[in-house]
Amino acid sequence: MEAVTEVEERMQSARRAFDALKAEMARVIVGHEELIEQVFIALVCGGHCLLEGVPGLGKTLIVRSLGEILSLTFSRVQFTPDLMPADITGTNVLTDDPSGKRVFDFQRGPLFAHIVLADEINRATPKTQSALLEAMQEQSVTVGGRLHRLENPFMVLATQNPIEMEGTYPLPEAQIDRFFFKLLLQYPSREELARIADLTTAGQPATLREVLDASGILRMRQCVREVPLAELVKDYAVRLVLSTHPQSESANGAASLAKKFVLYGSSPRGLQSMILAAKARALLSGRPNVSFADLRAMLLPSLRHRLILNLEADAEGVGSEKILTELLEAVPEVP
């Protein structure tokens, strides 16, 4: 019984921490509550996020503020076509040791931080992108034959601009699949814009308070995996993922749009990230089990970058958002 109380306490503390984080973020970030929640969910799940939005919407500010509140180290890399892998991973430099002997010393790159902001990731060459994505997957880099572990927790927040595509190197589908979430930044509303103006043009910038540290996040990660998931709820997640596959026979409830416009449906990684994110959401809500609502809320960020659409979809301007929204209506929670 004591263990149950302990779990209950952990869940409550997770919820309190999340509420505090939201309150602290609200002091510097106007709006984007949903985005902040999803970034935090990705963090406690050990995933990475791809942020898509036009410049000036506060991507960097969100990431930096998150680092400050969570007492985590933060680094930012502006990706350009001439950026080399060594520029982000680090490199061996010839130096003199205290005895005067010349040795190679590993100089850590910007990847050696808890939170890394990879700004405009699609402007770097595939070579550099691959180096980053390898680090994301393995959470380590190998330089000069030596393996270097990255920080734990480690999270990459890559951004890309959806409107300036000239001179960019779009990420291959296989690499996009490694992102836990793809999040879209929406343009602020009129009220939010007015508040942004007040916050940034009058008075001193607010000083943020630490509400959680790295060990707290790691404890949360452990809790997330313990959240029970009913078979019926899991079956709903499976059916949702299967219904994105137009060619799958078992996708009985596949939406008509998916059948028409999807070339390849979501990978199993999509199911993993959706269920894990749903568990994290339940935990942050102070609930000990996953609900259908959790899965529905996590469907879009988990799967929107995992659908490969056909040319017809491109021609008709149908995006994965629309397909997934229709899919939510088509697939019943209980068959």
Binding site: P228, V233, P335
Partner: protein, 475 residues
């Protein structure tokens, strides 16, 4: 097992038990509804489908046929339990705690987080009253059952299937009895009209038998036996006696009727007051009129006497004898028609669909050989179809006080008949004037006997028709 687990299991059992009860009720009402719809659909075909089974048993039979299928199709499955619990989650806003707890209860061990789910679910569900929370919901089937049942009962009471089945295939004893009753009444009317005593008696017996069949709801087999008995009886009655034999072989039915009318006219002639003027005058007058009474003339020709040398009493006696012969022959033929009707009725009862009723219309007694005029007997035999040519083909029937109709326009349906093709002589009618006058006079005589003609005018009308014949004779 903790107390929380026990409470939760009890509540889940209550909920699922209630849902199963509702499912059983739904299956039952659906069964009733579909059975009633089925029973209503087959109602018009009861007689065809279930000749040996009572109409009331159709509904239970459909119910029993549908029941296994529907019970199997709508049986309670594990998925239904999950669905019921998901509904509970939604109704109480439990965020799938109930369904998760239900699954956890099925396992042997539970982690701390899972125990927490059970605890939270118990807290919310402990006060659950499934019957209150998930009340019965009435579907369209539930609302339909009673009205459909009432409708079915009413239609059963009105014997809708029986009235319809008269037109389709193999009728039941009830339907046959109704047909027989209808025919027997027509037969009695005809017998009364034509003063056919044996036919009248037979008509009454037939009506009695029909009424018995309707009231006592006798079985098909028994009713057919009754019909066979009646047919045999009629057959015996319909055998010609020695005195009828000469007429029956030579005369058509129409001729016999004409003869009776002419006999009536001749008798009237003998009764005229001026007939007593003298034997010589009477003979002359008689010979004049005889020319206008072809059937009677023919009969007298056969006697080779032409009425000459007859005294008034002898002539009257001869006419009486002839009238008796004609009447009894008509009576016999009517009985034969009735017997044919019964035979046809029995064939219908045996499902002999090939024998159309229409065919019977033309199956009256065949005309005597040597007759130039081919006529059919009256179409009052069973299976009379609308639009069929019936009765007298050559002459429109005269009806006093009413419009004159030409009956018997051909319509759809099976029928039989004889078609004679030939070129009539130019400028000549196919029907002789004598026959026309005789026919009208006959009908006029019949009408004069009814109450529709005022007593004061009867003499005038009679004289008019007599004068018609006399005028024609002079010309």
């Amino acid at each position: 097992m903790t107390q929380e687990t026990e409470i939760l299991q009890q509540k889940f059992a209550q909920l699922l038990g209630w849902e199963k009860t509702k499912r059983r009720e739904r299956i039952f009402t659906a069964l009733c509804c579909y059975s009633l719809i089925g029973a209503l659909v087959v109602l018009p075909f009861h007689a065809q489908l279930l000749a040996a089974v009572g109409r009331v048993w159709v509904l239970p039979a459909i119910f029993l046929v549908l029941a296994p299928w529907l019970i199997f199709e709508k049986r309670w499955r594990a998925q239904d339990s999950a669905r019921a619990l998901a509904e509970l989650d939604k109704a109480l806003g439990l965020d799938e705690r109930a369904i998760t707890a239900w699954e956890i209860l099925g396992r042997r061990q539970a982690s701390a987080a899972e125990t927490l789910v059970i605890r939270q679910a118990t807290e919310r569900i402990s006060a659950l009253e499934p019957r209150t929370l998930f009340q019965r919901q009435w579907s369209w089937r539930d609302y339909l059952v009673l009205p459909l049942f009432a409708l079915w009962l009413v239609l059963l009471w009105l014997e809708v299937g029986v009235s319809v089945d008269r037109h389709i295939g193999n009728p039941t004893a009830q339907a046959l009895a109704r047909q027989l009753r209808e025919y027997s009444r027509e037969l009695q009317e005809k017998a009364q009209r034509e003063k056919l005593s044996d036919s009248l008696q037979a008509g009454r017996e037939l009506e009695k038998a029909a009424q018995r069949g309707i009231n006592e709801k006798t079985s098909d087999e028994k009713f057919k036996n009754d019909l066979a008995g009646l047919a045999k009886k009629l057959e015996v009655l319909g055998k010609p006696s020695a005195e009828q034999l000469s007429l029956s072989l030579t005369e058509s039915q129409q001729n016999l009727k004409d003869l009776r009318a002419e006999l009536e006219a001749a008798r009237d002639l003998l009764s005229f007051p001026d007939a007593a003027k003298g034997a010589r005058d009477l003979e002359q007058q008689w010979l004049d009129h005889l020319a206008m009474l072809p059937q009677l003339k023919r009969q007298l020709d056969q006697e080779n006497q032409l009425g000459q040398g007859f005294r008034q009493n002898e002539l009257r006696s001869f006419l009486d004898k002839l009238d008796k012969q004609a009447t009894s022959e008509l009576d016999r033929r009517t009985l034969l028609e009735a017997q044919q009707f019964l035979d046809q009725l029995m064939k219908q009862g045996q499902g002999d669909k090939g024998e159309s009723n229409a065919r019977v219309v033309g199956q009256g007694e065949q005309d005597a050989p040597g007759d130039t005029e081919k006529e059919k007997s009256r179409g009052d035999l069973p299976g009379k179809e609308s639009g069929k040519k019936e009765g007298y083909g050559s002459m429109p029937e005269f009806q006093g006080g009413a419009e004159t109709h030409v009956k018997g326009m051909l319509d759809e349906g099976q029928s039989s008949g004889l078609v004679f093709k030939g070129k009539p002589l130019a400028g000549k009618s196919e029907v002789s004037q004598d026959e026309v006058i005789a026919s009208y006079r006959r009908q006029a005589e019949a009408e004069l006997n009814t109450e529709r003609v005022p007593e004061a005018l009867k003499e005038t009308i009679k004289n008019y028709f007599m004068s018609l014949g006399m005028g024609e004779g002079k010309r």
